[in-house]
């Protein structure tokens, strides 16, 4: 009797080393392949390759700032962000072809000292909706193409705590990319077919994002000590282009 904990370890290994076990399975003769254990109501904790409907994943994204103004805004050539995504696989539109919708939230923040020797903090929060089409080359490997749109805000703070300038601007963006999805076999953790199997799902995606230029007008942040402060004019630090290639990696659980 294999314990759940033991199976979990196997699944984890499958997620990080997906090529080895499945490639071995694909190398098997067709008759042998049918011997892969299928989940049933009578056999709990078994693995299966049933299609997954949902996936909840944590993701990280690296973006490469190609424009000088964007590099100054972020203080770096490449920036990182992290977030969450929830995807839904529609029933297969064709054999081995799946359309998927996903909702995502991605946050990034960079603190640096800019060219003026000023502390500078840049952050974004983007909420996105994506549509992807994937083709199952193998049960565990599916290349896909994805388009997505999103909106949110970018915030910039510059200066010291007593004299900091701040602004937040609305941003929207669209992206197009392609990548690979890998999944592990699903495992039934409950003795009922009503409960879907759980599987690890990972994605690696590269693409390009185009968005509106970010126009930030910084304004002295008042601590509120003055009852009726003298109005302070904002300063426009210039529009920053929002165009960058990205690499997105996610890892999560499908069910």
């Amino acid at each position: 009797m294999t314990t759940i904990r033991h199976r979990f370890l196997i699944l984890s290994t499958a997620a990080f080393l997906p090529a080895l076990p499945v490639a071995a399975q694909d190398a098997l003769p067709p008759a042998a392949r049918t011997a892969v254990p299928q989940a049933s109501e009578t056999e709990a904790h078994s693995t299966s390759w049933e299609p997954l409907r949902f996936a909840l994943a944590a993701e990280i994204q690296t973006a490469w700032m190609l424009q000088d103004d964007a590099r100054r805004l972020w203080g770096k050539r490449n920036t990182g962000g992290a977030g969450l995504s929830l995807s839904y696989d529609a029933p297969q539109v064709a054999r081995k072809t799946t359309v998927s919708l996903d909702l995502s939230w991605l946050a990034s923040a960079v603190s640096t000292t800019n060219g003026l020797d000023l502390p500078q903090k840049t952050s974004t929060q983007i909420f996105g909706l994506g549509l992807s089409v994937r083709y199952d080359v193998f049960r565990w490997l599916s290349p896909y193409a994805r388009v997505a749109g999103g909106m949110g805000w970018a915030a910039l703070t510059m200066g010291s705590p007593d004299f900091d300038l701040r602004d937040r601007a609305f941003v929207y963006q669209g992206s197009a990319g392609a990548g690979l999805l890998v999944r592990s076999p699903g495992v039934h953790l409950v003795r009922s077919r009503r409960w879907p199997p759980l599987a690890f799902v990972g994605r690696v995606e590269g693409g390009y994002t185009i968005g509106n230029a970010t126009d930030l007008s910084l304004k002295l942040h008042s601590s509120g000590s003055g009852k009726d402060p003298i109005p302070v004019e904002a300063v426009s630090v210039g529009e920053v282009a929002r165009r960058f290639p990205y690499l997105r990696v996610s890892l999560g659980v499908g069910f």
Partner: protein, 535 residues
Amino acid sequence: MKRAYLLPLLLVSPLACHDDSASSPSRTVLPMVALDNSVAYVDSTSGTAFLLDPANLAPRPRMVATGKSPIVAQKRKAANQLLVLTHGDQGSSSTESEPARLVIVDPASNAAPVSTDLPGRFDRLAQSDDGVFAILYYGSVSSGASGSMLYNPNDLAVATLDGSKPVASRPIRSLGSVPSSVTFSPRAMLFGQLRTLAAVLAPNYVTLLDLDRADRTEITVPLVADGTQNVTPVQVLFDMAGANIYVRADGSNDIFQISLAQAAPANSKSNDFRVSLSLIGAGSEPSDMEMYGTGDAMRLAVTTPGTRQLAILDPKTGNATSISTATQVSQILLFQGKSPKSSEIQDRAMLVGVGTGATALVFADLKDIESTQGLALESWSIPSPVVGITPLPGNIALLNQRDVYGSVTLSVVNLEDRTIEPIGSSGALDYVTVEATAQSRLWGTNGSSRIEYLDIVNRGQGPLYSGEVILDQTITSISPLAKPSTDGKRYLVLEMYDPMSLGYLTVLYADQPDRKEARSAYGFLLSDYFKRGQP
């Protein structure tokens, strides 16, 4: 096993970011320049001038590229223009060199600034009072001054700011010293021609340039004959009508008289005048000198604090009349006006011991003082020593005094009535500026966010009318603008405490300052920072 490491590496990659900003240089911003109705800042690092109209503190001030490494920014005299002297860039294997430039920016025009390449990387700029001529020179013999390894520190250039003539390189003779300052004559007729002379002062030497004739050689006048004495010329007076130049020098008890005499030029590069030097003894080292009278009655009044005397020098004869002042006076404030005893308008002077610790003012009736001597002087005691004096229109002077506690106090002196009105202050004034125009108004702050003002002349609200405005941040400088801005209002521009040098101004109406009408701009030196690139 290598594949096993691929994913973790991808996960870590966002954290392995390269920081571009680490090698960026710090920023240098030249002091604010108050123009007629606007203000300008020049960012040395980015080579950008920021022009701000107080009537419209827009999110993007007008930005003008000045060229690399601006080192001097001044208002052009008698004109509403900004002058910027840049050092340029010597270049390197990866960057192109850029010549030093003199840039003239007109804040009222959107046209590109007028930029003139200079023959050297000068670091000093002196202007004639009429704003027509500028002399660019080196203020040091160190290589850091020019950015060059080897250069002639006695090279200088004459620029005509109205653009009527090209910049002329005018190297002067190197006699072991470098220029310390440049003084311009008033523009006047001399030997039948309208001209402006410049006196380039250097230890032991004065060099004269006829600025209207760039092709003429300079005239170098050694002040000491044998080189055993060191004198440093510090003050020059031009008597263009009498064709004389008077030089006062530290380290000498004499006034140097340089007489100009018309002479036919020997060749095309010679001047049409010659010079001769004579000395007029003042008895002791002079601290100040002023010219008064005309023609044969022209005299020099000279203070000699060492002997507590006022010396009256007759340049025609070389005679000196010394009159004891009883107190150590060091500065002369010349005026024409009445006195309490005489309604006759004549040359008079107030003698002040600036920095001497004297607690008395001496008024002198200069007409016939050589005969009346001590009778022409009148002393008035004051409570504390004078550290500065500001002449104002209407024969009024503002005395800057420092009491025994080191605090600055102020007094208004009516030179004709010889009355001294102390100005009360609840605290020590750290920064005072006076509008030396017909609308004399004194502005002061005590290093806080409070600005106080006082009308030295009656502006319709009574004599010595005062008021105050409290702002949101510590005031660091006060600049009343001379002329109304684009909205027809004249502004007072206050620099506020700005530890990061991003630009922090508050503007008030200069004629009716009121906090309710105050507006501030902070961070305007960051304008278009992301677009401009280098800060």
